[in-house]
Subunit: 458 residues, 2 copies
């Protein structure tokens, strides 16, 4: 009987514990879906501030707004962490056209890639050579490329369920197209927009010249997927057509900006830090609602929701609004550098930077021991259709915080629509569904609750 009672007692305790978690997560769900501030916060960030490229006035307005809102929410401490960031400015709207013969032209929706140099003020005008990868570029060689504009037109693959994978496999054209093409004498590059949809939006994004000296740099622009299809078709008819590109973007000296950090000290383990965050900067074409306004406001709202649900964190919770993820990740570098200097112990960090869509799960960077513990929580999320717990990357801003024993995670929303908006003028508040955004807040808050309650194996 004695052993039986003990077993019985243990069973009860176990059940009570897991039921408690289930109940708490239900509470978190109810509170998020009925009274969270996530959507309202994003409304302000997107519609009152808007696009906020690092180094811009809007980025500084976003920093101030973030600090003020976090203060309103009520943390033990809210502060700004100084960081020098690149300042690249697009300048007047780009102009591009296809000239099939003198007097016959087609306008093209184009935008400079982030970090690109300008064209001469009258633009560049040259023949176009279409390629699909760097091998093709090499095969064509200087003979075929010299003096031309190289047109990278390899579409994102449609037959991958993860659009992020499709992006990863196509984005080298955007990031390294210019530095590769210039080897063979190209005078500029235009890149098919990183989108799976056929439409008229050009999608910007970062590009790099590597070690190329400034005098050798050639302008790089994205053109819309519709324009890419058109240009490709016109090239079949007339390989001698000309392309005109004019852009007046400019790289300035680095300027001062900030990560925004807020913290509530843990009641029991104040030295164990749980971080939640996203990036406050965005590209300049849209208002950055999905990338990454969503992640910012979801992170900001976690404490509100925990509080409403009557939960008091045992560990220290930090909200970090990272600056400059898009073109430098200087904020992330600065944050991890200072954290290391101070020997801060981030036991868990969670990033949301994949859009404000219905959450499908999380991706974890974790050792095996911790991951098997995490997998036991999976069933708590299943009633909310959050079903994928995978190992893999977390997010660009928290990745530098990885240690042998901590856990990093990225929220993984449904990715099907993400690249319709990514880095383009249509990444705006109207592309956000309130419930989908809030489900992300719910998922994040629930995971943070569990990590706060149970910690990690050290």
């Amino acid at each position: 009987m004695k052993y039986f009672s003990k077993l019985f007692f243990l069973l009860i305790v176990f059940n009570v514990f897991s039921q408690n978690d289930q109940e708490m997560i239900e509470k978190i769900f109810d509170n998020t879906m009925s009274s969270s501030k996530t959507y309202e916060l994003l409304d302000h960030l997107s519609n009152e501030i808007g696009g906020r490229l690092s180094g811009s006035l809007n980025a500084e307005r976003a920093v101030e707004w973030g600090r003020d809102e976090l203060k309103k929410i009520g943390f033990d401490k809210v502060w700004l962490q100084e960081v020098m960031v690149p300042k690249w400015v697009r300048g007047p709207k780009e102009f591009a056209l296809i000239e099939t013969q003198p007097g016959t032209t087609f306008n093209v929706d184009a935008c400079a890639l982030g970090g690109s140099v300008a064209t001469p003020s009258v633009g560049i005008k040259a023949n176009v050579i279409e390629v699909h990868d760097f091998d093709e570029l090499k095969e064509l060689g200087k003979e075929k490329i010299d003096g031309k504009i190289v047109f990278f037109n390899r579409p994102m693959q449609s037959n991958l369920i993860s659009t992020f994978q499709a992006y990863g496999e196509a984005v080298d054209q955007r990031t390294n197209g210019a530095v590769e093409a210039v080897k063979y004498g190209a005078i500029g590059v235009i890149v098919r927009s990183m989108s799976l949809r056929l439409d008229d939006y050009p999608h910007t994004g970062v590009m790099s010249y590597g070690q190329l000296p400034p005098s050798k740099r050639i302008p790089a622009a994205a053109i819309s997927t519709n324009a890419s299809e058109k240009l490709s078709n016109l090239l079949l008819i007339n390989p001698n057509l000309k392309f005109l590109l004019r852009q007046q973007c400019k790289q300035y000296a680095d300027v001062k900006s900030h990560n925004v950090i807020a913290e509530i000290k843990g009641s029991t383990y104040p030295k164990e830090i749980i971080l939640v965050g996203g990036h406050l900067d965005s590209w300049d074409l849209g208002d950055g609602s999905h990338d990454d306004g969503a992640g910012i406001v979801q992170s900001m709202d976690v404490i509100n929701i925990l509080r409403k649900s009557g939960y008091k964190p045992k560990r220290t919770i930090r909200v970090v609004l990272f600056m400059n993820e898009e073109n430098g990740t200087r904020g992330a570098k600065k944050y991890s550098e200072i954290s290391k200097k101070k020997s801060l112990n981030h036991i868990f960090a969670l990033e949301s930077d994949a859009g404000g869509f219905s959450p499908r799960g999380f991706s974890f960077t974790s050792n095996k021991e911790n991951f098997s513990k995490i997998l036991k929580w999976k069933n708590l999320f299943a009633p909310y259709l959050i079903q994928s717990f995978e190992t893999g990357g977390s997010g660009a801003d928290i990745a530098p915080l990885e240690t042998k024993n901590n856990v990093l995670a990225g929220l993984r929303p449904d990715s099907q629509r993400y690249f319709d908006y990514h880095h383009a003028a249509n990444d705006t508040f109207d592309a956000i569904n309130k419930r989908e955004l809030e489900l992300g807040s719910f998922a994040m808050t629930s995971l943070i609750y569990l990590f706060d309650k149970y910690g990690v194996n050290n």
Copy 2:
């Protein structure tokens, strides 16, 4: 050794089989995502035909289009199945306003509910009484309700992960509000739109007068969620405000329409029928892209995709475009009536009528034996993030086909956005994401492939 070899052989066979399925489903995925016609078909149905309420000219155009397109796809047989359907016509745009005092008015976005009677041509104007359910109506009684317009304002619950559940728990206000309110002398009813979003779209949908004689019927309209909030707030300030509603809708005698049916005879078991379908009719306010253009074009495309994937069905595949799901389900009744008369054996039927969003799984109506067989297929869908295999309902059009041994299923897409568009003017083609729509075609085709290959336990 003998037994070992047998076992070994069986293991190989088993592995080959399951690998074959995995490979076929991968092929189906590739073909769907790279070259399906689903989106193109919907473009035509939505943009060239548009809203197609039963009994309307557009519904007949949709029937002709469906027949012609199915013929183009290439079936053994395509035919129309005659069915008499209700004909209700909205008439000129409805007009509604709130009058807080003579001369002070607020326009209200309103639409007649499907099946409602008209108001007198000058409209009805009366005091408003807000209620949230039929119990409250009863408590208020004739004294408080007589001569007034009853305003049903119970919102869909936001803290349910399934928006269909939230709809199910709120929709009695729309379907039975009039017949309940008239018991206490109401002269009209206005109903908060069945939507989880605050916006200006009124959402129509079917209502019923039950056995109420025509002379006793009162007009019923939906008003937008924003208007509902406003009216509720104004009623707090001024309970004596008046509401004016004018609508000129009319119920005509039933007219002839059709289900559209296409069939490919099975090579091995031609008497075992696998049905896939959706409903061809829609409400009249939008173009019915999600409800249920999506289900129609996904169903139509299944054979295309199977063919491209090199699969030849062993069982008979039927595509059925049902008429009149929205206000009568007469097509479904007729189809099942004739099927029973002919003793047709539908071993499996699959319906898509929950929008063209990312598929999350299926809901099955099945006996235990078949369901345990189905559950073994679940892993084949997991790589595509189709993760929910549940028992429950299937769909309104196929439900009458249920037998002890067959299986019915409904595609279950992500439901978060569905009621933003459902029965409203914004259920249009631009609310469709091509990839999400196609993923539905993929999921459906894969499930049909498995049922065709393995059948059910009879």
